[in-house]
Symmetry: C5
Amino acid sequence: MLHIEFVTDLGAHVTVDVESADKLLDVQRQYGRLGWTSGTVPGGGYQFPLDNEGDFDWTLIGARKWTNPEGEDMVIHRGLAYRRRELEAVDSRKMKLPAAVKYSRGARGTDPEHIREKADGEFEYVTLAIFRGGKRQDRYATPGGRPAPQSGPRPSAPRPQPVAAQPAPIARPVPVAVPEDETPF
Amino acid sequence: MLHIEFVTDLGAHVTVDVESADKLLDVQRQYGRLGWTSGTVPGGGYQFPLDNEGDFDWTLIGARKWTNPEGEDMVIHRGLAYRRRELEAVDSRKMKLPAAVKYSRGARGTDPEHIREKADGEFEYVTLAIFRGGKRQDRYATPGGRPAPQSGPRPSAPRPQPVAAQPAPIARPVPVAVPEDETPF
Amino acid sequence: MLHIEFVTDLGAHVTVDVESADKLLDVQRQYGRLGWTSGTVPGGGYQFPLDNEGDFDWTLIGARKWTNPEGEDMVIHRGLAYRRRELEAVDSRKMKLPAAVKYSRGARGTDPEHIREKADGEFEYVTLAIFRGGKRQDRYATPGGRPAPQSGPRPSAPRPQPVAAQPAPIARPVPVAVPEDETPF
Amino acid sequence: MLHIEFVTDLGAHVTVDVESADKLLDVQRQYGRLGWTSGTVPGGGYQFPLDNEGDFDWTLIGARKWTNPEGEDMVIHRGLAYRRRELEAVDSRKMKLPAAVKYSRGARGTDPEHIREKADGEFEYVTLAIFRGGKRQDRYATPGGRPAPQSGPRPSAPRPQPVAAQPAPIARPVPVAVPEDETPF
Amino acid sequence: MLHIEFVTDLGAHVTVDVESADKLLDVQRQYGRLGWTSGTVPGGGYQFPLDNEGDFDWTLIGARKWTNPEGEDMVIHRGLAYRRRELEAVDSRKMKLPAAVKYSRGARGTDPEHIREKADGEFEYVTLAIFRGGKRQDRYATPGGRPAPQSGPRPSAPRPQPVAAQPAPIARPVPVAVPEDETPF
């Protein structure tokens, strides 16, 4: 018998019994759809293989895809919106970094110090997940081989203009301040 | 079987077994009426849809409504009183924010740094909950469709004068220092 | 079934099963007599109604009354002694505070920042509990309607000279440094 | 039924079921012998009665006695060595402190701020346990009435030269830096 | 019955029931192979005997060996790569330290302060494990008496050039910045 600890959408701490280890991801998907999360986001964000990005099942971490009014790809996690950004590969004398996709948001005043990352100038941001390198894990995929319907699959869509990757990747400053809670709840 | 962790009104850490997921909110209401809470208030406060504000069931988070001697709407949570404030929508070139209702209190010396929010000048405050945007969740409502009796429903009461919303919403400074524990216990 | 988490007198983390919610306070009393505590002291101390002060059952929070060699009323909690102080009501233009009884001690070097309260000058103190206002809760009383024998009831005893209450109540500086562990273990 | 949480010698978090409260210390001894600990060392160290020092059962807190190559009395706890020091009683106008025995080590760079205690100058140290005053608790004794064999009993051995006790007791600076992990594992 | 708490590869908090204490290491190996970890890395890193280094079973702490593209010995733990370094024994007037093998990485901006260790200049690093002194514990060995296949045994391989040990061992600065997540996932 296993037991998984969640924080519910109401912030309550709830443990759910799980019959066996192979049922665990199912339970995470089931409660993740309600916005329940287990554990805290690792410092620097979750790390997943780049090849999982296309059909990643965000319910596994209690998140879901969302397209904001400007048509941008976002992910909602615990009520906060993270923007999708593509980072080009870096291959310089000083640094080698494969291409990546990163989901991040600007830091809020109440974010603890250790999850903030510095970008240019005074700007600080917080990363939910980074998809880079690695080998695809099929078990992280949305069941049915397709992303969740709310954003729709776009296997052949042209990739949006990538931002040049940097040693400390920069969260693109937005021309209009987007409050972090301007979300479809 | 599920298990929900509470902090009791005496500060004890107690876990309660819950038969199934659909009984969870009932258990939260049952123990929330005693002032028991589960989990910690998220940084920046709980986020709920604005349309839940009128009949929100505060027992879900171990809180209750209270009208202070000056007739102001307050909420008591873990022995501390939070004042209800209405924030107007903002629609400027720099910022778009829908109208909101916020429950907050002045910061205390013993509040940890990461829950304090800065307002004008030296003033710092702590938010319990903010109701803004979103889509009403019926399951958050007080059973019976009516707020708890202690404050009474006032569906048609004129809304109090709203405070102009700001990028960092300001907790209204009070002319007379109101101690945080001036509460009906 | 409920489960309550304790820190034992040896600092071990132990959970005890409790048959039903109405047995919970009994279990807290039973283990509290051994110095076991559940949860942490809230920032600023436990808040109880003033009318519970006379016969408060300190075992509920793993504490016990103690009279120090100077004949002063103290409470021992996790090996540290807290001094009883009476605070007069304040009724000024700036502040209204009902009378209170507070149990506090001077801060130690190893106390975390967020539990320290500032008094005059450099002095910092830590509050275990404050009894102020509110409505008496009979369930917090020592069973038998009498305080524990070690300090004895004193319903009609003249109250010790109260310290003038202040916005930030001052822990009375002691002329001779009293080490925090000068206790009957 | 009780449940005790341990951190194993490998740092894993493991809970062990205990049949009844009177079996608890036995379980702590059994797993403490493996170096498992429960809970964290209290700020300022564990407090025990002085009369328990001679035959204290260190397995109760997952520690064990050790004599270092210089013949000094040490205690190993979670891989770190603490040196035994005797502190004379203080009886001055400013301070009254009974004699004590203290087990402490120099602070390491990775020790969190709140467990460090200041001594003279820049020196900081961390206390595992202090034995002072109080009334002997037989249940803390090594079963058999004798200390564990590794250091051997020495009921009549002359006490080592005591260090003069001070308001903030000073960890004796060692002439040669003794790395904290110079231990028999 | 025992219960061990893990953080899964997805960051979820999951407890697994274990029949008896002697099955515990098996369960740690089983889930450690999936990258699950229990507990946090101790400040300053895990301490193991030097004689366990050759065939240490890294699955016990949810880690695994990895050889980076430059052919260097690394260990992957929670998605981060730690470099193997050999530290010579020190035997000076000021310090005596036996030879050791250390696995460490450069500090990241999101590492909490208390796990960072200072080296020369501004450089900070984080230690996963240090193998030094002590007595071999067979139960820490890879079952079968051989290291896991991914790096292969090398019982007679010449030891790489050791770095001179120092009071605060220095993490070798790398000429080319190696991002911490440049790993085979």
